[in-house]
């Protein structure tokens, strides 16, 4: 025993394959912590995606249930949701799997302007860097989950998707494309005046205040990238299925993820899949509010009993899959 080795070389740095080390840069080039080696770094900017495969179930939920999960000042526009899986093959954050729910919504901004966009009450991803690159600057509600999404068989006619977290499967669906049109589409589809809305909360390390912001991502490309929608869809890649074509569907809430229980008895109207390129530009803040906490408010935050562990504190030890 006692055999020891430390390999200090950086061949990829010497060959210019990666950016200069954070430790050797001006601080304006560090956009996240840790400052010695951030979880996402400035080589993700601008954030572009190529040949991602989007597979969106068109889902209708009870309007009251939806309103109950959408926080003020965001207002629900209609109850047709997108329930989407994505295989991201080439991105500035590396490849990853993703899931989200998008609800057509509006927000009256601090200046009185009404912003229209798809609001995300739920998102799941398979990799840490895009989770925190989404959560921290923008407010995307990303969590980590096991996500599988495939198209296979003759002409890729069959599809299947499954998502699991902490031992619970909370969504799964499979079926066969018929290429018949879905009876509904989300309101925001293809519209350049509808962007994306997120609710960002940044809490001070002392927990003495939290800054609440609604952030807005426009749909039109920033000027430096040309013109048009920042989703560049390949029309030849579109496949569709109706609700009848979705052979099996399972949705459930769990103690760790409320989505299924909160949305209730939804109707799946079908599936729209397509391949696309994407740019995610910086976001703007359209509404902001700071919530201060007095000493007397801290009692409401201390929900647990020290050293007593409940059902939400017990699950299998997670092993990050990125081995």
């Amino acid at each position: 025993m006692g055999k020891q080795a430390n390999e200090y070389s950086y061949p990829w740095l010497e060959e210019g394959e990666v950016p200069p080390l954070p430790l050797d840069r001006d601080r304006i080039h560090i956009i996240s912590q840790g400052v010695a080696d951030p979880v996402f770094d400035y080589d993700i900017v601008p954030l572009t995606y190529t040949e991602s495969r989007w597979m969106a179930f068109v889902v209708e939920a009870d309007e009251a249930n939806l309103k109950a999960v959408i926080p003020d000042p965001v207002e629900l526009h209609d109850p047709i949701l997108e329930f989407w899986y994505v295989i991201h093959r080439n991105t500035m954050l590396g490849p990853y799997m993703e899931f989200g729910v998008t609800a057509s919504s509006t927000v009256k901004g601090s200046d009185g302007q009404v912003w229209k966009g798809g609001y995300y009450p739920y998102m799941y991803l398979s990799n840490d860097s895009p989770i925190f690159a989404g959560r921290e600057p923008f407010g995307f509600p990303k969590k980590a989950a096991y996500i599988a999404a495939f198209e296979h068989g003759t002409n890729d006619n069959y599809f299947n998707m499954t998502m699991e977290r902490r031992g619970y499967v909370f969504h799964s669906a499979n079926g066969r494309y018929s290429d018949k049109p879905t009876p509904h589409k989300p309101t925001f589809y293809g519209k350049t005046d509808w962007g994306r809305l997120n609710y960002r909360i940044t809490t001070h390390p002392s927990v003495s205040n939290s800054i609440h912001q609604v952030t807005y991502l426009g749909s039109e490309l920033p000027p430096q990238f040309g013109t048009g929608h920042r989703f560049q869809l390949d029309p030849s890649s579109v496949r569709t299925a109706t609700g009848e074509d979705v052979r099996a569907w399972y949705l459930a809430g769990t103690p760790f993820d409320f989505m299924g229980g909160s949305l209730g008895n939804v109707t799946c109207h079908g599936l729209i899949s397509f391949t696309f390129n994407l740019i995610i530009p910086p976001a703007s803040i359209v509404w902001e509010k700071t919530v201060e906490r007095a000493e007397s408010d801290f009692g409401d935050l201390l929900y647990s009993t020290p050293y007593k562990y409940t059902m939400r504190h017990r699950f299998m030890t997670p092993y990050y899959p990125g081995a």
Partner: protein, 323 residues
């Protein structure tokens, strides 16, 4: 006919173990996104741990390498007794308010003195890795530099049943570090901050605006003594001394390397592996204090490092299926 099942019940509400979602509560109790289903919630607080198993390799690291990892301003490396000793630690967290997870970190003794001459002494974390999304995010709110990684921790075999140990950490297909060996229970000198209640913990939090126009750096400080409300005297780490094991440097096989995604293996220069100290403990993590902050502005022309739609070495690795 297809089979579609929506489990629209919330069976976990049969007991009162789980708080209602933030959208159903006073806004002062919302800590992080998303309001309908946050990544972690107030049932995490107070944040306590029971019977966690800490395994700390003590390594001799030269002063220039330590100072490079401690951003100055505002930090200066400790130049007193045992300044060269750095903690390189794994933890198996069995029972916590964030659930079970595995963790890794590096701790360097450092100080910060403000303009009024007040000095804080603490262990500073340049690197941390965990296996759980909630624990990563809850830590990042306080400024911990957490990423996710695949971590292994094993103690087993021999006369005492836990004489042999093996540790490793992998991310995006690369082994970052690995250790193995056998406890010989030889004395190992710990880093200077061990057991001292006037030494806390430092972290550097980075908050970037959604439009990336600026980033605020906050040096956060966690004291070792608990606030009076916790009604616990002494150190917030409560060590169970009877379960401590040690190994000398000669009893340890050691490997570390940098990867294109993680620079730790090249930046933590190891003059000598001095030994290993393993112990079992209970812990409370209170809110943190911000003792220094500075904001770095970016010009409107800021473009980051990447070229749109061109993917480099850091953007290509095996796709994750998720935790």
């Amino acid at each position: 006919m297809p089979s579609h099942l929506n489990v629209d019940t919330k069976y976990w509400t049969l007991t009162d173990e789980i708080p209602n979602p933030p959208v159903e509560r006073d806004i002062k109790t919302w800590i992080i996104g998303n309001p309908s289903d946050p990544l972690w919630d107030i049932d995490v607080l107070p944040l306590t741990y029971t019977n966690s198993r800490w395994s700390a390799f003590v390594v001799d690291v030269p002063g220039d390498a330590r100072q490079r990892l401690c951003p100055n301003p505002p930090l200066t490396i400790w130049d007193g007794e045992d300044a060269e000793l750095v903690e390189y630690w794994y933890v198996n967290h069995l029972n916590t308010m964030l659930g079970p997870y595995l963790e890794f970190g590096v701790t360097i003794s450092a100080t910060h003195t403000d303009s009024k001459g007040n000095t804080w002494k603490a262990g500073y974390y340049p690197y941390m890795y965990l296996t759980s999304d909630s624990a990563v995010d809850a830590g990042r709110v306080l400024g911990f530099p957490k990423k996710m990684a695949y971590i292994r921790v094993t103690e087993h075999g021999g006369e005492k049943g836990d004489d042999y140990f093996g540790y490793s950490m992998t991310r995006n297909g690369y082994l970052l570090t690995a250790q193995q060996g056998k406890y010989d229970d030889a004395p190992v000198k710990p880093p200077y901050f061990y057991g001292k209640t006037d030494w806390g913990k430092f972290n550097m939090k980075v908050i970037t605006r959604p439009d990336v126009a600026s980033s605020e750096w906050q040096l956060t400080y966690l004291p070792s003594k608990l606030p009076p409300a916790f009604n616990v005297e002494g150190h917030r780490f409560q060590i169970k001394n009877e379960l401590t094991r040690t190994a000398s440097g000669d009893a340890i096989d050691w490997f570390a390397q940098a990867t294109p995604f993680d620079n730790m293996g090249a930046e933590v220069k190891v003059n000598e592996v001095k030994g290993l100290i393993s112990f079992t403990f209970d812990l409370i993590i209170p809110p943190a204090e911000v003792v220094w902050s500075e904001t770095y502005e970016r010009p409107a022309s800021y473009r980051g490092y990447a070229t749109p739609y061109q993917y480099g070495l850091r953007q290509q690795f095996p796709i994750h299926q998720g935790a």
